[in-house]
Symmetry: C2
Subunit: 321 residues, 2 copies
Amino acid sequence: VWLMRQAGRYLPEYQKLREKASFWHMVRTPDLAVEATLQPIRRFGMDAAILFSDILPLLSAMGVEVRYTDGGPVIHPPVRARGDLARLRPVDAQLHLDYVGETVRLLAGKLHPDVALIGFAGAPLTLAAYLVEGRASRDLQQIKALAYNQPELAHELLSLLADAVYDLLRFQIDCGVDAVQVFDTWAGLLSPEDYGELALPYARRVVERARKLGKPVILYVRGAAAILEDAASSGCDVLSVDTSIRIQDARERLGPKVGLQGNMDPAELFSPPERIGERVRRLINATGGRGHILNLGQGVPPEAPVEGVSAFVRGVQAWKP
Amino acid sequence: VWLMRQAGRYLPEYQKLREKASFWHMVRTPDLAVEATLQPIRRFGMDAAILFSDILPLLSAMGVEVRYTDGGPVIHPPVRARGDLARLRPVDAQLHLDYVGETVRLLAGKLHPDVALIGFAGAPLTLAAYLVEGRASRDLQQIKALAYNQPELAHELLSLLADAVYDLLRFQIDCGVDAVQVFDTWAGLLSPEDYGELALPYARRVVERARKLGKPVILYVRGAAAILEDAASSGCDVLSVDTSIRIQDARERLGPKVGLQGNMDPAELFSPPERIGERVRRLINATGGRGHILNLGQGVPPEAPVEGVSAFVRGVQAWKP
């Protein structure tokens, strides 16, 4: 059991760190990133810690200017034309992501051997969406329009990002993470046909290469009900699904060969603790607890009560087959 | 063929109307609402006109203060506690929605008999989401938390809204619409379990009652891939689906008894016209053009090129089995 965004604003001890440092500063400062990563483990004892970072530092390492604003991250100017590709340089992780390496190495030395350390990256389509839209988007209108009008340019961008994502995951694994999660958060906003053309081939390229490094790869896709089999065909060890699908249906459709991760609704964290415990039991029973990493369907909301997160983790820890 | 939001900002003649009147003023002024409704029919010759309105005037008629801001509609204060229910009065459509009745009557007199006039309303869950969240929300966190913590209150609100929605649809049908569409736009943000508990029973109550009035009922649910059979079990004549599902899969899963509406990606409107024509043919061929109302998966974006909409409609009109 672990939770996406388990290190974050819902924790008072995290809020305290943030009083003195911006999110971006924390990500780039290994001591602070290590502390943020460890906070939820100390308090709740999850089975895995996830590197405190974000998917956009990779773009930053590629020479793109990323600003974190109150309205979310902004990339300006966005990538819209062939000339914009020249702004993207290949990733030299040792040089431009040295702080990530240092954070992973420090964490690997501090975590109890029973606690897994998870590294992560955005998937090529999701990163491309940020680059082309310039910010989080509800409809991916710009990147779709780019792909429909300039397909070669879109594929060139996705290909270049697939290489960069792999480089980052390899670097994280070299530095000591035990598993990696690839976030294709926005891919579910594509039609199944576009998913097969623009998202899956590049997610697959990343997953296949990363798996050869000997660590398990988790693929997260939000809103994957219509493309579940496609997403699993990426070769991922574990498919992380959001709340929009019944996890027993996912198990039935995918069979036992792919692990599943998820998929409690984050809004359940606002429920009374007894209800949370009951929902956790129901969620585990839906898969029999086999090949199932307990998690939410999306990240912990900043407003979530600490008691809700605690009830979720305790519920899993208390489960017996 | 028709398009959701076919009357709207992408049309220069609509922009011209909006120079002199706010959206809200247009909705409440029958002459302007009639003109906006007719504009796309004149230009493109769709098979159906949809009443120029919004789903929130119903809440306004219930005594709720709705403000249209640049950031979208705002309901303040939102409904969060039992005492807030007292603010919601039963709908007297003749009195509080007289402008809707007048617009429908005028349109029924002006439209060619071959062009259907579609009325519409928000579904209970979607309206409840607006009332409780206070604005459009990406995660429905507030209404979910309300339903988990005060289930009786949530069901009371949904039940009260189901009655109001039915009253509005009956009024529209009495005034002369040929069909109605119920928008459960946000219901796909619920888990399948919550959909079955909070959205479906109330959508079903509305659909079943409205069908008895003798006009076809279309139900729209965004992101319905995991709950397709449930949504169809509402008894709707036509299920309108967004782009997240292959329409041939929807046909296969639902059989020929339920009509389908959709589901071209609105971003395709930004494609070259030849590509749009080709995509339209592919979409129609996916169902053989039987029991299939051609439409987008979501509304026409304000930035869509007029040529794209034109290519979409002409593509359907040119199709031959």
